[in-house]
Symmetry: C2
Subunit: 218 residues, 2 copies
């Protein structure tokens, strides 16, 4: 029920065993993301990973455990990708330019079929797996806005932004940049994910509003 069970492969860690384990994880990821928790059968996972059902159960004690493992791992990897080091505002001395790059980076990483499917899956299972959703929230939007808030604090201290409440500014920036695209993609499917050009435009426009409120006049 909870996030756990990330301790190597429990049985012998022979090469074969971990190869199988990976195959199972890959197949399960694909099927769960496509068909949801209840819509997925363990037989399908076994078949798709070219592994016997027995082997699946040797690695994962139950469907639920496998599901939790998949979602946790995807969530973590995604979070790390989003928050890989962003070069902290070097020669792009222009705040606007820097924030535009920052926003576009976030948007383009998040607006991926994979991540959209994960979000839909987790949201659809909120009542069955509230812990998974909470973790996704914390490792996702919350973490992103936390880092943004830190950034804005710094920029405010440097006199480059007029930010009184960094957390609030982070919320505004984050959603000015991402909300429309995200909401569209969530409901209209992966085909509604904006093109890079559209993403850039959304970031520019959102940033303009943000700077009107939080920029320093010069």
């Amino acid at each position: 029920m909870v996030v756990s069970d990330r301790i190597e492969s429990a049985p012998g860690s022979s090469k074969r065993s971990s190869r199988k384990r990976l195959a199972i994880l890959d197949a399960a990821t694909e099927v769960f993301l496509r068909d949801g928790y209840l819509g997925t059968s363990m037989d399908e996972i076994a078949t798709l990973s070219s592994v016997s059902k027995q082997t699946v159960y040797k690695h994962f004690s139950s469907k639920e455990a496998l599901f939790v493992e998949i979602v946790s791992s995807l969530t973590d990897r995604t979070g790390d990708a989003v928050h890989a080091e962003m070069p902290p505002m070097q020669e792009a001395g222009d705040v606007a330019t820097y924030l535009e790059a920052y926003g576009y980076r976030q948007l383009s990483i998040v607006l991926t079929p994979r991540i959209m499917q994960l979000r839909r899956l987790v949201i659809g299972e909120v009542s069955r797996f509230p812990d998974l959703a909470r973790v996704l929230y914390e490792r996702g939007p919350q973490r992103a806005m936390g880092e943004l808030a830190d950034l804005f604090s710094q920029l405010a201290a440097d006199g480059l932004l007029a930010v009184k409440d960094p957390a609030m500014a982070a919320v505004h920036f984050n959603w000015l940049v991402m909300a429309q695209a995200l909401n569209q993609a969530m409901l209209l499917g992966d085909d509604a994910i904006p093109t890079p050009a559209e993403q850039r435009r959304a970031v520019k426009e959102g940033l303009a509003v943000f700077l009107a409120a939080y920029g320093v006049k010069r």
Copy 2:
């Protein structure tokens, strides 16, 4: 698969029949919202509505048809509630005051357990029922932003707002006001729905940013 079948009750519209029909719809709404499409059984719906399974199938040809009916009807009713006539900016001659009321109204109507559950349900079923999700998108956010765009057009014509692209301004206003609360409620569950006081604050803060970008200086 598609939205249809809203023509009275197909069999004789005796009082009893329509009473049963309503009971079924009520029970099905509750169960589907709670347990999702696959997680719901027709037996449970029958039991909860104190009706025999046979009667359920006399009114709705299949589980899928019942589901579509429920979701469509909920979507429509919600859309109508959100877009019931808003007194068009009378004595509250102040644009800010008016927009604050407008925003708060939207937020407080949308941030309801019922509607959050509906959104989660539909999002979780995007790949199984893409039409339902599309309808929810159109009757929900798209419609709201459409009306906002009209409003902004008018206000711009009256010289009360500096809006060049009403649709874009609508997107910004909508998400500045709603995104944070909505995203939180989607992932953290109904208990994370902000209190009215918090909602008011979010609207005020979002509106301030909006007006910094789109307000007319005076």
